[in-house]
């Protein structure tokens, strides 16, 4: 593959299934899977030749066996795959779930000190140099990122915290959990984990293997392809998605924390799932010719009929001012809208109209709990709301501008936005150099971007709450780290298709033409086009002390922030 020194190197352009999820998947196993009822009902003819069903099963799925007690997914982890139980019995732990310390979660993997210390001596001046042997040596790698140590419930220090009776050592079955832990069985044929996988979000529940359990782990790309071509799967996934959303969101919501199981069931039965706006909002947003559509969810002055619990996307809360609307704040997953007015109506007995408007920024998923249910089950059990959403209008109008800007630019999506205080920034580029030095000599952001007053949001990955960049990735190279949910690109599996870069509404992903370590460009042997890799900020994943750009700023000008924390302190700006 590698040609002479002065010549460009060539490398077969990577394709979707160059790096299978698990290289050990055999034809035998694929055949076995295709014979199962879940897959034999699928019309394989509807799949394109480039991505046939058996190809999906072969390359985007893997079979994993969990010992009794081992956790399959953990609540709070970021998931990129769903699971189909093939044999054995899994069990989901329903909210409130297990305490964090029982989940055996280590926040980050320990840093590789040897590599850190050797880093200054390994720096290369070749831009975007890669060891291409790593790409061609397929046997030695696997696309599965989940090599983390498995955690077992049976390894718990004090069994009394979980079980009523001590688990017998070597037992084939995990004893039932104590009465305070509610669980649901997941027999063979059950699909779980699809909500987090498709919604680019966190696992909403912990699932463990009750007996030895054989599961099919499916990359979300496999799930997407199958549900796009098979109605049964689509309905199954949507049903599961909704029920899971209902169950978890309602059970976890602090407003409903006082409700008992039966009341909660009633609430769930009456609750509606609503969607506003477009799930693929970023396409609109990228085309800046026209203002993106912003569907109204609730209008100021209308009478509310239910409480909205936001489960995904973003909503703008605004109030009429002059000839336009003034943005007060924005809402996202976990927030709610309409409580103040509904509670006041219930308390005073007269109908109170919405004091503010809510509109969907991009898309907004919400659960609507009708007023009647609230009046019967919720309001009698909660303390009166201490503040009202409309109170935020008390700040000076001058302070709106920054919030309006962050909303308009959709920076609300970011969780680690690179915000630079230009009044402090001496333009020394220490941040860029630090970034380059921690990424093999290559910067991973551009120190330039949209400015508002003294604030500049540089072109660095914001690690969005809704990472739309992940939508089109054919290989799953771009994924969220299991702990922390950082959006990370696996360089080994990236095929340079550019889907993520095009999807990113903020232009924070860049395609780079790679070079061999001798400095020569690496080209596709046929088209002679350069081999590309998508690159972006990974928040210095694996470094012991956080993003090096922020730590390298000697003037405290550069911060990685969740802009909402700033917006809430808007007038401190």
């Amino acid at each position: 593959m590698v040609s002479g020194k002065s010549e460009a190197h060539v490398l077969q352009r990577p394709k979707r299934w160059d790096t299978p999820f698990d290289t050990r998947m055999s034809d035998e196993e694929v055949r076995e899977l295709l014979a199962r009822p879940e897959f034999c009902s699928i019309d394989a003819a509807r799949f394109p030749a480039a991505a046939p069903l058996h190809g999906i099963l072969r390359n985007d799925c893997r079979i994993v066996v969990f010992r009794p007690g081992e956790l399959i997914v953990r609540e709070g982890d970021y998931g990129n795959s769903a699971f189909l139980v093939l044999a054995g019995m899994a069990r989901a732990i329903l909210p409130p779930g297990l305490p964090q310390r029982l989940l055996g979660r280590s926040t980050e993997q320990p840093p590789d000190w040897r590599a850190l210390l050797l880093e200054p001596f390994r720096r290369t001046r070749i831009p975007e140099a890669r060891d291409t042997r790593l790409y061609t040596d397929r046997a030695g790698r696997s696309g599965s990122a989940s090599r983390e140590r498995r955690v077992s419930l049976l390894e718990i220090a004090d069994w009394r915290e979980l079980f009523d009776q001590a688990p017998a050592p070597g037992s084939e079955r995990v004893p039932p959990l104590g009465a305070k832990h509610k669980t649901a069985p997941l027999p063979p044929g059950s699909l779980f984990g699809e909500v987090a996988a498709l919604g680019r979000g966190q696992r909403t529940a912990t699932v463990y293997a009750e007996t030895e359990t054989r599961v099919l782990e499916m990359r979300w790309q496999a799930l997407r392809d199958i549900m796009n071509r098979d109605e049964t799967w689509r309905q199954k996934i949507e049903r599961g998605y909704r029920s899971s959303l209902f169950r978890n969101h309602l059970m976890e919501h602090p407003l409903l924390a006082q409700l008992d199981a039966t009341a909660l069931e009633k609430v769930a039965a009456e609750t509606l799932f609503e969607t506003y706006g477009s799930f693929e909002w970023h396409l609109d947003f990228r085309n800046r010719k026209a203002a993106p559509a912003e569907p109204l969810v609730a209008a100021q002055g209308d009478y509310p009929d239910g409480l909205l619990l936001i489960t995904g996307g973003f909503g703008r809360v605004s109030i009429r001012l002059g000839t336009s609307a003034r943005t007060l704040t924005y809402l996202r997953n976990g927030d709610h809208f309409g409580l103040d007015e509904l509670y006041e109506s219930w308390r005073s007995g007269r109908e109170c109209p919405y004091e503010t408007s809510l509109s969907a920024l991009g898309y907004l998923h919400a659960l609507r709990i009708p007023y009647s249910v609230l009046a019967e089950h919720v309001f009698p059990r909660i303390a009166p709301p201490r503040t009202r959403l409309v109170d935020t209008a008390a700040r000076p109008i001058a302070d709106d501008a920054f919030l309006e800007w962050t909303v308009e630019e959709r920076f609300i999506n970011g969780s680690s936005t690179m915000l630079i205080d230009l009044d402090r920034c001496v333009r020394c580029d220490d941040c860029v150099r630090a970034c380059a030095d921690t990424h093999g000599g290559n910067p991973r952001f551009v120190r330039q971007g949209a400015t508002f007053g003294k604030w500049m949001v540089a072109h660095a990955c914001m690690h969005c709450l809704d990472p739309v960049c992940m939508i089109g990735c054919p290989t799953g190279a771009i994924h969220r780290s299991v702990a922390g949910g950082r959006v990370i690109i696996n360089d080994a599996t990236c095929i340079g298709c550019g889907t993520c870069a095009h999807s990113c509404p903020y232009d924070n992903i860049r395609l780079v033409a790679i070079r061999e370590r001798d400095g020569q460009p690496v080209l596709d042997p046929v088209s002679r086009e350069p081999i590309l890799k998508a690159t972006k900020c990974d928040l210095c994943h694996g470094l012991p002390s956080g993003p090096s750009c922020e730590r390298a700023c000697a003037h405290g000008a550069l911060k990685r922030v969740d802009l909402r924390s700033l917006v809430i302190h808007a007038s401190a700006l």
Binding site: T387, R395, D429, D437
Partner: protein, 295 residues
């Protein structure tokens, strides 16, 4: 999960919605106090020990001397820290604060150590001069770092220093294209003559550097004067081209300011860093000579 809880807490708490500048400034005051205390805690023991020893048979110079040497190395290590961003060596911000504090301490200790402002020995005179250069350039740099970023913010049109030549070249290309198009369409020579006589000079490279450095607006005034002088000779179509050219020139004016101010933010280091390196070398030499000849 934690951030979720935090946000809920923020939404639930009444006061969290409202800014608390009082608390912010109190925190800043606390940090400043801590910083000052740290500085004094680092300086006073050394100075006092040296002063005491000076009055107990005069080895105080050794204390201040070695402290100065250690501090010089710590100060120089700031540069090293910048080269090793991956290692958990503390944030650069803390380093810079320590750099300022230790720089101030070292200056005080230097005065105590040297006694007279200008020593008698020739290499010691060089050492003193270099020390002076480091301190003065450091103070200047700190001043510039506090002053110029705000000026840059006010100028607007943020640009990366290394990209300024490319941006100026692009502006020049665009201006030339506008002039050419205008000449082709209108056929009048006024605009092209004017471009050749004046604008070509302006778009060639950054201009009015001193004015930008001192905060003046000579460039902007120049553009205004030139454009208004020319406008009377142009027809409507050429006038539109001139408007676009004016916009380009104003952007160029911004770039010029960025070039000068960002350049100034880099240039002081051309004194500070080499002089600092020289200082480390001379300090080591001083130590060696002293140990060979007098200690």
């Amino acid at each position: 999960m934690r951030s979720k809880t935090l946000i809920r807490a923020l939404l639930a708490l009444p006061a969290a919605h409202l800014p608390r500048p009082g608390r912010e400034s109190a925190r800043a005051g606390f940090v400043a106090g801590l910083y000052l205390a740290g500085t004094l805690a680092l300086w006073l023991p050394v100075a006092a020990a040296a002063w005491y020893l000076e009055r107990r048979l005069g080895t105080g110079e050794l204390v201040t001397g070695y402290a100065l040497l250690v501090f010089t190395f710590v100060l120089a290590a700031f540069n090293l820290r910048k080269r090793l961003p991956a290692l958990p060596l503390g944030s650069a911000r803390a380093w810079k604060r320590a750099h300022l504090a230790i720089g101030a301490i070292a200056t005080a200790l230097y005065v105590q150590h040297a006694g007279s402002p200008y020593p008698m020995g020739r290499y010691e005179q060089l050492l003193a001069l270099v020390f002076c250069a480091v301190v003065v350039s450091g103070l200047l740099g700190d001043f510039l770092q506090r002053l110029l970023p705000r000026r840059l913010t006010d100028v607007g049109g943020e640009v990366i220093f290394e990209r300024i030549p490319a941006e100026i070249a692009t502006l020049r290309e665009q201006a030339e294209a506008l002039v050419l198009a205008s000449v082709r369409e209108a056929g009048s020579g006024a605009l092209s003559q004017y471009y050749v006589e004046s604008l070509d000079w302006y778009f060639r490279r950054p201009r009015f550097l001193l004015s930008h450095l001192t905060g003046g607006n000579r460039g902007g005034r120049w553009i205004r004067d030139q454009i208004s002088a020319l406008r009377r000779y142009l027809d409507e179509r050429e006038g539109r081209a001139l408007d676009q050219i004016e916009a380009l020139a104003l952007r160029k004016n911004q770039l010029d300011a960025h070039y000068v101010l960002q350049g100034a933010l880099k240039l002081w280091l051309f004194v500070h860093v080499p002089a600092g390196m020289l200082l480390v070398a001379l300090a080591c030499w001083h130590l060696l000579v002293l140990h060979i000849y007098a200690l």
